[in-house]
Subunit: 285 residues, 2 copies
């Protein structure tokens, strides 16, 4: 099991900045996210106000971040965090089927753009899951429906199709899908999730589809779902100027902490979160 000083969840500007500064402060980090960095950054047309990098395409800024991490010797662990539990002296992170331990946690997961679907929160943990890697074993030989908010989620659906008897995929985006034949793609926007006779029902604008398990896959989950006990303010985490959340040892930065949703603001907050997290760890020694 991996044990680090600081677990950083998210590879947007906030998470990258936090990882660079934490490493500079001689703290070991576990940076969880995607080598493609933040989808929001990578897709930005042109960013004009990231000081020092004039008129940069989002994909180029994402590449610059990746290069910076590489040069600083910081690896990205491409796994999704299912949950973070405060254990007193440390935090336990559920990462796929594995666990990791960290002395402090920095949340940089971005803001949940979509509202939860009707029924989603109510059925979470009772047939509705946010993590294919974690919960696929529960649906071995059974049927699953996947509501995917970005093409990046297709890999999870493909993985489920190796385990489940049947997988339906509801893309919540316009791009072409690229999925194994076994996955049935249903081009209808999901509008809600219900329960009927012990099975889950995906409701769309055009019909209803039954499945044993429903996976709702987005880049970010609501912060208080990820970290039980965290004080949230709608889709945002409450923080002070030191980027401290309501839970000692848990810090947050970036879009997750509120508007403005700006790259340089997120990067600045990541720096502050890392310095606060390092100081928190040092006081515990």
């Amino acid at each position: 099991m991996e044990r680090v000083d600081i677990a950083i969840i998210g590879t947007g500007p906030a998470g990258v900045s936090a990882a660079l500064t934490a490493t500079n402060r001689n703290k070991s980090v576990l940076l969880l996210g995607s080598r493609e960095m933040s989808e929001k950054v990578a897709k930005a047309h042109e960013i004009r106000n990231y000081p020092g990098i004039p008129m940069v395409k989002g994909s180029d800024l994402a590449a610059a971040f990746r290069d910076h991490l590489d040069r600083a010797g910081i690896a990205i662990t491409e796994k999704r965090v299912g949950a973070v539990y405060a254990m007193g002296d440390y935090f336990a992170l559920q990462i796929g089927e594995e666990m990791a331990e960290a002395r402090a946690v920095i949340l940089a997961t971005g803001v949940v753009q979509a509202n939860p679907l009707p029924g989603e929160k109510e059925l979470l943990g009772r047939g509705v899951s946010y993590c294919a890697t974690c919960d696929a074993p529960l649906y071995r030989g059974k049927t699953a429906a996947v509501i995917g908010y970005s093409p990046r989620e297709e890999a999870e659906a493909a993985f489920l199709s190796e385990v489940c008897s049947e997988v339906s995929y509801f893309p919540m985006y316009k791009e072409e899908t690229s999925l194994p034949e076994k996955v049935r793609v249903i081009r209808e926007k999901a509008t809600g999730i219900a329960q009927e006779d012990g099975r889950r029902i995906v409701q769309t604008e055009k019909g209803t589809y039954a499945a044993d398990g429903v996976f709702v896959l987005r880049e970010a989950v609501a912060p208080d779902t990820l970290v039980p006990g965290l004080e949230a303010d709608g889709p945002h985490v409450r923080v002070n100027r030191k980027m401290e959340t309501s839970l000692p040892g848990v810090f947050a930065c970036g879009d997750l902490t509120g508007t403005p949703y700006q790259y340089i603001k997120a990067a600045g907050e990541g720096n502050v979160a890392a310095i606060s997290a390092a100081a928190y760890i040092d006081t515990k020694k």
Copy 2:
């Protein structure tokens, strides 16, 4: 007289970031500072945690900022602000012997590293001045002492020597000075300012020197000296997460708002200050 939407004081990462974002938001800006940018940035040996610009020399980061401003069509006005007055609907800025008006003000002046000299605050406005350009006329044909905290202040001493009968210069730094012959350089560290028989006395570690006027020239002045009525917290300005100060329409960002003194933190705050200032102006329309 110049009239703008937002006056931004300071050309470190905070001020540069604020100027870029304010311009992006279609606000006119008056950016006051130095084309050499922040002295602290320009002199930094290597900056390792400004995401996207790996392992950059301070002078290169300063050049990147300058280039970014140039490309965005933002000019730097190389003048020192003497004071900022809240006039109700707008702010009046005393800039040298001129005035300018702004609908909102963003302070990004950095933190005052040096403590004020004993006697400095007490005699400010009574023989002690922070601004040669503003107050030189008061000492025409008289004697002046200049306590300069950086080689950049030498230009002010040179200017004073054109107006005053005698100028003594006390460099508070180690670099060689480059001053007109008429200026008497005294290589003794100033330790205080006093008053005696209607003249000012510069006290050094080795002796005392009388002058009619004493100019104390630093890159930054205490924020509540610059903006009367501003709520300060020691050398820092009190701000909330929106970078609002205690005065409506006045925003602050960067080192001025407190630790950590980090470039990316300052740049992030400049962005937030600009967006808050733009919103403030829009609500006043």
